[in-house]
Amino acid sequence: MPVVDAASAWWLWPLALFVLAFFLGIIAVIAGVGGGVLFVPIVGSFFPFHLDFVRGAGLVLALAGTLAAAPSLLRSGLANLRLVLPLALAGSICSLAGAVIGLALPVEVVQTALGVLVLAVAALLWLVKGIGHEMDVESDELGEMLRLRGTFHDHAEDVHVDWRTRRTALGIAAFGGIGFLGGMFGLGAGFANVPALNLLMGAPFKVAVGTSGLVISVINSSAAWVYIGRGALLPIIAIPSILGVILGSHLGARLLRRLPVAAVRHTVIIVLALAGARALLRGLGIWI
């Protein structure tokens, strides 16, 4: 039986990344979790790359996946640019700090913290079942000033939805914290964006998912430059991941209006729990 040595079989890993990223792209858009939160723990735990490069690729993967889906979401009203402006500004400033600190910390610390964070995300997605569309949201003064309102047609229920947001200052502060975590761990942090937009600010779930993607694209653009400047972005890891996630998220954006969100969310929770447990055990030195 022929033996394939590691040096000549280098291409197997980029190929595996492409396939993985394609499937992550589909489920990330539908579940509104961002590709990075699945990519970083899975690739960081089961692939041979150092976490520095995985986080760099995770940031640009989440960025590229959301960029591909964002134009159609903006046109359909499921993403709102005016809502993105204040949230992305707070998030991107904090994401720069997160990226700088994340690259300065020992890898075991980052791996352990990543495992804890991903397990917490899985638990959050499992526990928070109240996501939906809250009617009659009262806009606050800041929200009115920033024109944080919009309208879209919900094809699943065939209704026209007018929406507004509330608790604008709190929402902006929340996105600062989310941006910090995203920059530190190389995630899109859609898992936190969606509840912050939906539960905290009162945006309809579909608007929260669509707008979360656009926020990620701006926040990750800032943090990505820290990783690029440090040389922590390897094209052989990043490009197959980007190409895979773009193709997958394009398909995911089309399926968003038709697929049952609950079934996809359950799959994501299981994958997150497994990947988070692996990252935690690796960080603690229990299962290298």
């Binding site: 590691a6 040096a7 079989a9 280098w10 291409w11 890993w13 041979p48 790359f49 150092h50 520095d52 490069f53 640009v60 960025l63 590229a64 960029l67 591909a68 964002a70 134009p71 159609s72 903006l74 046109r75 709102n80 640019l81 005016r82 402006l85 204040p86 992305a88 500004l89 991107s92 720069l96 990226a99 700088v100 690259l103 300065a104 890898v107 920033l146 694209s217 701006v218 990750n220 653009s221 800032s222 943090a223 990505a224 430059w225 820290v226 690029i228 400047g229 440090r230 040389g231 922590a232 972005l233 390897l234 094209p235 052989i236 990043a238 490009i239 197959p240 980007i242 190409l243 773009i246």
Partner: protein, 134 residues
């Protein structure tokens, strides 16, 4: 006409065109790099021994550049690939620059100020001026 369009429509149009351009160039870059058309700075066969190292040790072992120094390495396949990836990171900046005058035309000064502030943050990040980012 862009003059009458809502900034959100302009953003969507530019983002859509830019994302597909970056996608196509990434595909081309991967072909040039992994297909062996352009010689890489770090040989592909060496990567399995290097990609498991922390970034500082990777740079020590390979002499890979930091900051914007990689621009001088664009004759190598891996840095053509990096340039393609950078296009994704620069797209939001381009779109923000494009919608800034649109918000001003619509009389939305607060939104225009947020856009201008975001442009400053993105430029600071891209120029590696953030303390500790180097």
């Amino acid at each position: 006409m862009d003059l009458k369009r809502d900034p959100q429509d302009i953003y969507a149009r530019w983002l859509g065109a830019g994302a597909w351009l970056a996608f196509a160039l990434s595909l081309l870059a991967l072909f040039l790099y992994a297909g062996g058309v352009l010689a890489p700075f770090v040989p592909l066969e060496r990567l399995p021994q290097l990609w498991g190292l922390p970034v500082e040790r990777f740079r020590e072992q390979t002499g890979a550049p930091t900051d914007w120094d990689w621009i001088g390495y664009l004759r190598y396949g891996d840095y053509v690939g990096l340039a393609a990836v950078c296009l994704f990171a620069v797209l939001s900046l381009v779109c923000y620059l494009r919608v800034l005058p649109a918000f001003l035309r619509h009389g939305e000064r607060l939104q225009a100020a947020l856009v201008a502030a975001q442009i400053v943050v993105l430029l600071a990040a891209a120029s590696h001026l953030i303390p500790g980012a180097r």
